[in-house]
Symmetry: none
Subunit: 320 residues, 2 copies
Amino acid sequence: MQRIIECVPNFSEGRDLSKIERIVAPFKNQENFKMISYEPDADYNRTVVTLIGEVEAIMEALIPFVKNCIEEIDMNHQSGEHPRIGAVDVIPFIPIQNVTIEDCVNFANTMGEKIAALFDIPVFLYAKAARTEDRISLPNIRKGEYEGMKEKIKEVAWHPDFGKPATHPTFGSVAVGARDFLVAFNIDLATDNEKTASTLAKTIRQSSGGFQHIQAGPAFLEKQGHMQVTMNILDYAKNPIYRILEVIKFEALRYHVAVKSSEIIGLVPKQALLDSVKYYLQVQQIPYDKSMDLETLTAYAIKYLQFRDFNKTKIVEYWI
Amino acid sequence: MQRIIECVPNFSEGRDLSKIERIVAPFKNQENFKMISYEPDADYNRTVVTLIGEVEAIMEALIPFVKNCIEEIDMNHQSGEHPRIGAVDVIPFIPIQNVTIEDCVNFANTMGEKIAALFDIPVFLYAKAARTEDRISLPNIRKGEYEGMKEKIKEVAWHPDFGKPATHPTFGSVAVGARDFLVAFNIDLATDNEKTASTLAKTIRQSSGGFQHIQAGPAFLEKQGHMQVTMNILDYAKNPIYRILEVIKFEALRYHVAVKSSEIIGLVPKQALLDSVKYYLQVQQIPYDKSMDLETLTAYAIKYLQFRDFNKTKIVEYWI
């Protein structure tokens, strides 16, 4: 059986669509993996690419992708709302099928070593691939961002895991890692008040006393003109989507702010949706059938979890 | 202004009431602090004393109290359900007013040094006063209990923070520490189903992925015939009472179980109630006045937090 991973490289261009097309070209029309999506975000000035498929094929395509980012992106003239350390900011490997998290740590090492050797770009191993405590957390590595890393990387404690302790003059540096499947979930608030979104994020995130497996913060959506609580759910079994949504809903009541809708960035495993849909069906005493098809599940998720811009192709299982 | 602390010494006699009266005599009829309660538990064979007041006065009274415990309790003939390492098991100092947690660490050091010097009793500093990682947790210090400590204390890793590495022949040893105020809060469920209460406890407690500062589990109330989610809130600023209550309420909906009422065990700081009452007043757009009197606050807490058996004498500030 094939060894299937997900890989979600994030690069620091979210505005120039022709550049973006050129950058992701090595991921197009592939036999052994699929580019599920590439979602440019103009406010973030960042694009998140989601790949699923056979590990060797993905590893191979990442090299010309990194090369394209070197050619297309000059970090000295890049700015956006999302923190970042390089033209490619992160490359995480995620186990999906016939692959363990330990395998993914190995893939991260292989890829990190290659990127440093081929392009003279310093590489930080993060998350499950981290070699020291202070590199487990991506925000910790990112502190100071592209601009600050020029000095930070000279400190012994921040020497890269691969490559020389000096950032690439236009690319910066990159974090390569392994992690379990992470649900990127954002809740749309009917307010443009940054403080409200920030306070709400604090009620749920681990670092402020909230749930163990939640990273969250406020974000302003320029186009829509409203705030989001943007989050990563690091363990969707222990911190299910519905629970986080319901907490934000009752917390927002005190500010008289409605939850307008919510969105999944990238993909979500079927089980994560089943767990959350089940809650609402139980509350409403509607029979729950865990073998429901993806269409039914999608309809329930849109209805109860208030997903916008969602369809069954955002469910991991649709692709494998 | 006066420096006010809470101090909650626990001693290992919960059955012989005349002994207990003699032991707590130094806490009675004091000018500068009050003994709010002393609650003997026969099953535990242990008594929990709650003192509130001026720090110097409490420190002074603790010395004759420890002396009484040496005279009245022989640990070689003591047994009960509650784990313990000595005739006085723990002495925690808790900041209330004009006192920081760092001050309380100092009080623990002063008291620990005195007890060791005066009575030749080995002292372990715990919680915020701990000098090593493995002494933060009281259960960790208590492992092996009075009986096991005779050998354990000889290991270099378990040499006491004050005193010689040998237990007192009849008293044993004692843990002295500093911690923040802890709110003991229970939520009454309209069900006798243990599994439901246990599942609900897991949604909120830190050890199962829930909120950072919550310890929780299920408990059956024999007399009332229903289950509780029983919990300690270790940081009521970061995990306010109302938030925990609201999570349990919406989680219980899926089991079609109502929250009947709730209760505070021991005392609760005024600020903890203000924080939670404020939420409901904001939701209902009722003006919030942080200088409301204790009667008003009590009425709101009963109304919104569903407290039973509650009155203003359960608020810390009533006593100071």
